[in-house]
Symmetry: C2
Subunit: 188 residues, 2 copies
């Protein structure tokens, strides 16, 4: 494929993804209709779905981008640092709220659930690997199985998003993260 | 008011509330339209909104019933016991998911936010009072301010609902609650 076409394709995909993220953030997952996606992205549905099969495929690709970015931080500095970064980026709250809005669909729609799980795998793998290394280094408490610590951190991430979404004070939430961090750290 | 009319009123209110709870649980907050409320409750919109002003008023009354029931447990046995009870009642998961679905509305609609806060006050007050007594008795860690512990427990409740809603294993979540409980307990 000639370079100019590749660049054009990449730019078009970027335009669609950025617009879709704004649209989901503004209207929420369910209310981000195809019509609203067209308006926010500035392209016809034909052009949009030429690049992404459907609304869910678009949504999953945004989730995959999130997971990739978070996995990089989680791998080096842990999932709690990922959460501290969320607290420091209030402009992302509206988008994050979509994570809560899809809970019912995740439980009731197996295809959606699998698509979401696949796109989130990178973050999950990075966290598992980081916890393994921390445990080996004696920095993680040894009396709780790693899968329980992992589920605990996932739960705290969801809870943090929920408290942020409903308008809790970020300073109190920062103190909560300190408490969470201390609760998984080795006490030696 | 004669007794028979009072009884009739109470039964009618109960019929509406039970039907509305099923309707919200099945369709989610946004998709529980007036038409669907009519069908699930088995009464016309005229009859329903004679007893409750609008859909939000109905929803808030269900939230108030929840808060009242949870406050009773929270007051005697603490908020973590409330969460253990949730884990033991999987038939409630669909209804609980509505808690996540209103996050965007809670942030963007001040009237809705206030209505929700008023109906949740009983649980919040019961938790505050319980934490005060636990601290006084030396059973709560003294190095973290009570409001941080309170926000932490609220966050864990929301996170628990989110993990349950998306289909996490209740046994792992039970182990997570043990970890949470240990992390707020005094270590003496």
């Amino acid at each position: 494929m000639p370079r100019v076409t590749e660049d054009h394709l990449a730019a078009r995909r970027r335009q669609i993804l950025d617009g879709a993220r704004r649209c989901f953030a503004q209207y929420g997952y369910e209310s981000a209709t195809v019509r609203r996606l067209e308006q926010t992205i500035g392209l016809s549905r034909g052009a949009i779905f030429h690049h992404f099969r459907d609304k869910d495929t678009l949504f999953f690709e945004l989730a995959r981008e999130d997971a990739e970015r978070m996995a990089e931080v989680a791998s080096k500095e842990g999932l709690i640092q990922v959460m501290r970064d969320l607290l420091a980026a209030p402009e992302q709250f509206d988008w994050l709220t979509t994570r809560l809005e899809i809970a019912r669909k995740l439980r009731n729609d197996p295809g959606f659930r699998q698509g979401w799980a696949e796109r989130s795998a990178e973050l999950s793998d990075a966290t598992t690997e980081r916890l393994r290394r921390q445990k080996q280094a004696g920095r993680l408490r040894a009396d709780v199985p790693s899968n329980v610590v992992h589920t605990y951190l996932d739960l705290v991430l969801d809870g943090l998003v929920a408290r942020l979404a409903t308008g809790d004070d970020p300073n109190t939430l920062r103190a909560v993260l300190d408490l969470v961090e201390a609760s998984v750290r080795s006490s030696d």
